[in-house]
Amino acid sequence: MSMAEILAPAGGGVWHAIADPWSQAILQRAFLEIALVGLISGPLGCWIVFYGLSYSAESLAHGLFPGLVVAALTGIPLLVGGAAGLVVAALGIAIAGRIPTIGRDTAVAIVITTLFGLGALLALSPTSPPGIQNLLFGDVLGVTDGDLAFAGAAVLVTGGALWLMHGPLLAVGFERGSAPSLGISPMLVDIALLVLLSLAILVAVQGLGNLLALAVLVAPAATAALVVNRFAPMLWLAAGLAVASGIGGLYVSYYADTAAGASIAGVTVVLYALVATGAWAVRASRRIRNTGPAVGGREPGYARTR
């Protein structure tokens, strides 16, 4: 069901255009849900990006998909199903990784594709009740009070965990080998990060679906990393960008009559492209200024290596 079918777009000034989507309870809940998802995904995404876990996050999201579908079919809470799916995926990867003739990469790809295919098979079967497909692309208009409570709790858990673990996360991401000498176990930090990632995916699945949850996790963080070069402001900026992308995407969806999850994902990517272009232009103009009459000028401070 598209937004426009629920609420016909009404004219009458910019304020009206902005306020109009908020007049319905169903859309208020959608805005709130998507903001909560952004508050979780933005900051967590910064760590995912700098730990080089973007691809793993994608695999994780797809790997736990059959768990979500089975949970939805049998009425078990999605959280439990997702966690079970995660364990199955992890075991599958561990076992397939031990097959000597195929590489680890290949093992991960095969296991994840198999699991995702299995999930899709179950979700798209004609005998499955309608609505199961929403696990793939999300159903932000179908958010229940229970979903909102779960998302709110996840914001508190994620925020608290990232606050407490800031030092260890920073140290392990900086240099893993010497982290134990600082009293930090890189393995525990990795596990904690993966647990938080799984939680974020479970929350984001409701609004954005399994296929698009990653957009709001990776793109706002990557965008924030273009603009600031310290973790603390980056975490806040990514949270803001993720919330803004979510709300912006819902407006696009409302007025352009597009699918909500896809619109949100689209806004995150467009935002990244705009900021990347802007950052490139700023660097280029700085370079021109620095190559000018440089007598007594300060040395170019840019040595950012990717």
Binding site: F50, L164, M165, H166, G167, P168, L170, A171, G173, F174, E175, R176, G177, S178, P180, S181, L182, G183, I184, A225, V228, N229, R230, F231, M234, G301, Y302, A303, R304, T305, R306
Partner: protein, 264 residues
């Protein structure tokens, strides 16, 4: 993380290993290690890649339990990792990196307070980087990055410093600066262990520990750095040169780049 502090040990001996064997999954990667490090000593740790230098450091840090023998570290022990191992695009300042050294003192869940910030700034100032504290770590030169990592170890209030091939990738000016810094750190009463491939550099330090899956030799460089010992350490990969009647032993050039991740 450090092994139990043993106050009964003689004053000055900050590190003591007796017949130490350490390794992974029960099989020793390094054995027969018997040496001590006194306060104020610079000890060069020589050996091929995979010869046990890192394993020894991990044992001293308490990350690996002895399989047999004993190791006693009677002071806080901190490690200075290779700068090549850290990411240059990582969004931290030099001060942020130095502040990581306060984690063992403040508890991992605590954010650094005013006292920790002051300590980190003082550590950076003590190695001559006070004015670069707010620079991005990745924007610093190789030598400056190495110094920031030394500051991170100093903030831990460590009396035993383990430097993992600190001269890798440094130009000669930075290397001289780092060499002087090592002299000063030892002069202030610390024991400094430096893993290195550079035999000539090791000659200038107080004692040398040669490792090749076992302890080949330990003692003053004049006594230890002989051709037989070096050949036993590096497995016959030594090229011998004669210079004004003095022995100069060097390793073949490719030997310096064995890690594969040292090209940064």
């Amino acid at each position: 993380m450090n092994p139990a502090i043993d106050p009964t040990h003689g004053p000055g001996a900050l590190v003591q290993a007796d017949g130490l064997a350490v390794g992974y999954n029960g099989s020793p990667a390094l054995r027969d290690v018997t040496f001590s490090a006194l306060a104020g000593e610079r000890i060069g740790v020589l050996g091929p890649n995979g010869g046990g230098k890192t394993t020894l450091f991990r044992a001293l840090l308490g990350e690996l339990e002895p399989l047999s023998g004993d190791v006693t570290v009677s002071a806080r022990c901190a490690t200075v990792p290779q700068t090549e191992r850290s990411r240059l695009d990582y969004p931290v300042s030099a001060l942020d990196v130095a502040l990581m050294g306060t984690i063992p003192l403040r508890g991992w869940w605590r954010h650094p307070g005013r006292g920790e910030r002051t300590a980190a700034r003082e550590a950076l100032a003590s190695i001559g980087l006070a004015d670069l504290a707010s620079r991005n770590f990745g924007e610093l030169s190789g030598g400056q990055r190495q110094r920031v990592l030394v500051a991170r170890a100093l903030v831990q209030d460590a009396s035993v410093l383990l430097l993992d091939e600190p001269f890798t990738g440094l130009d000669s000016r930075s290397a001289t600066g780092l060499s002087e810094l090592i002299d000063r750190l030892a002069g202030e009463g610390r024991a400094v262990l430096i893993a290195t491939h550079d035999i000539e550099q090791a000659r200038r330090w107080d004692r040398v520990l040669c490792l090749n899956h076992r302890q080949v030799a330990f003692g003053p460089p004049d006594e230890v750095l002989t051709m037989p010992v070096l050949e036993a350490t590096h497995g016959g990969m030594i090229v011998e040169l004669r210079e004004d009647g003095e022995h100069v032993a060097v390793l073949p050039a490719h030997h310096h780049h064995g890690h594969g991740d040292e090209h940064g």
